[in-house]
C-alpha cells in the first residue's frame, strides 16, 4: 500500500491550494482553490484509512464532501450578491453625476 506518496501528494496539493487562495484575486478562483485544499485533506484521510485498515478514513472523507458543497453554495451566493450590488452602485453613481 502506498502511504508516503499519498501524504506528499496531499501536502503539495494543499500548498497549491493555499497559494491559490492567497494569490488569486477573483472570488470564484479563491473558491476553487479552497476545493483543492479540501481534496488534499481527503487524499490524506483515505490514505491513512487504507494504511490503518479502517473504513473510518473513508467515512470521514465522506463528510468533507458535503462541507465543501455547503461552502461553495454559500460562497457563490455571496459573490453573486457582491457583483449585483456593485453593478447597481455603479449605475447609481452615474445618476448622481448627472444631477
Amino acid at each position: 500500500m502506498l502511504l508516503n506518496q499519498f501524504l506528499l501528494l496531499g501536502a503539495v496539493l494543499f500548498c497549491i491550494g493555499v497559494y491559490g487562495v492567497l494569490v488569486r484575486r477573483n472570488g470564484v478562483m479563491v473558491l476553487m482553490s479552497i476545493e483543492l485544499i479540501l481534496n488534499a485533506v481527503n487524499i490524506n484521510l483515505v490514505a491513512f484509512g487504507t494504511h490503518l485498515q479502517q473504513a473510518t478514513g473513508q467515512a470521514f472523507a465522506l463528510f468533507v464532501i458535503p462541507i465543501a458543497a455547503a461552502e461553495v453554495a454559500v460562497g457563490l451566493a455571496i459573490v453573486l450578491m457582491i457583483y449585483r450590488n456593485r453593478r447597481s452602485i455603479d449605475v447609481d453613481s452615474l445618476d448622481e453625476m448627472k444631477g
Binding site: 477573483n26 470564484v28 476553487m32 467515512a59 455571496i78 457582491i82 457583483y83
Partner: protein, 219 residues
Amino acid sequence: MPEAVLLGGEQTTTAVEWVVFIIAATTTLLGSFGVIMARNPVHAALSLVGSLFSVAVLFLNQGAEFLAAVQVIVYTGAIVILILFVLMLLGIDTEEDLEDEPLRGQMPVAVGIGVLLTASVFALTQLVGFDVVTGTPEVTAAIRDDMPNINQIGRLLFTDFVVATQLAGVMLTVAVVGAVVMARRPREYQPIPEPESMDAPLSLDPTDQGADNGAEVAD
C-alpha cells in the same frame, strides 16, 4: 479462541497500483496548477474538474469505490457545474474582473505556514521513514474483505457516525437557507454606496489596490 479482529489485505504494493498512482497523481497536480495559473476562470474550472477526477481515480486505487463515485457525482456533477453556472450567468468568464484579495495582511504568515508544512511532511515521509507508526486500529471499523465497501460505510454512517450524519444534514440545510436568503433581494432595497472613509478592500478597478486594511491611524 480465534482472532476476532479482521486485519485483512496484505500490505504490499503492486505494479498496477504504482502505475495508476503515478498517472493519477501527475494529472491531479497538473490540474491543480491549471487552477491557480489559468487566466480564464472557465479554464481554471475545467482544470479543477481534471484534478478532482484524478483524485477520484486515486480513491479507486485505494479501494474506496463509493467515495470515488461520490467524488465524481458531487464535485464534477454539482459543485463545478454550479461554479461554471455562476461564471456564465455573471459574464465574468473572460478575465479577472471580480477582483478581490481578502488575505492581504496574512500573506507572509500563510506562506510561512505553507513552506513549514511541506517541509515537515517531506521530513515525515522521507527522512524519518514510516516504520514507527504505533496506531492500533479501532477494530470497530476495520475494513472487511467479506462485505462491499459501500455496506461498510453505510453501517458506519448509521452507527458510529450517526450524530455526524445528522449534523451534515443540518449544515446543508443552513447552506440552502443561506444561499436562498442571499440570492434574493426585496424590490425596495436600494444598495447603500460605500462611504469614502471606510476601508474598501474590494474594488472593480483592477489597478486600484484599495486602502491598506491593517491598522488605521485615528484622526
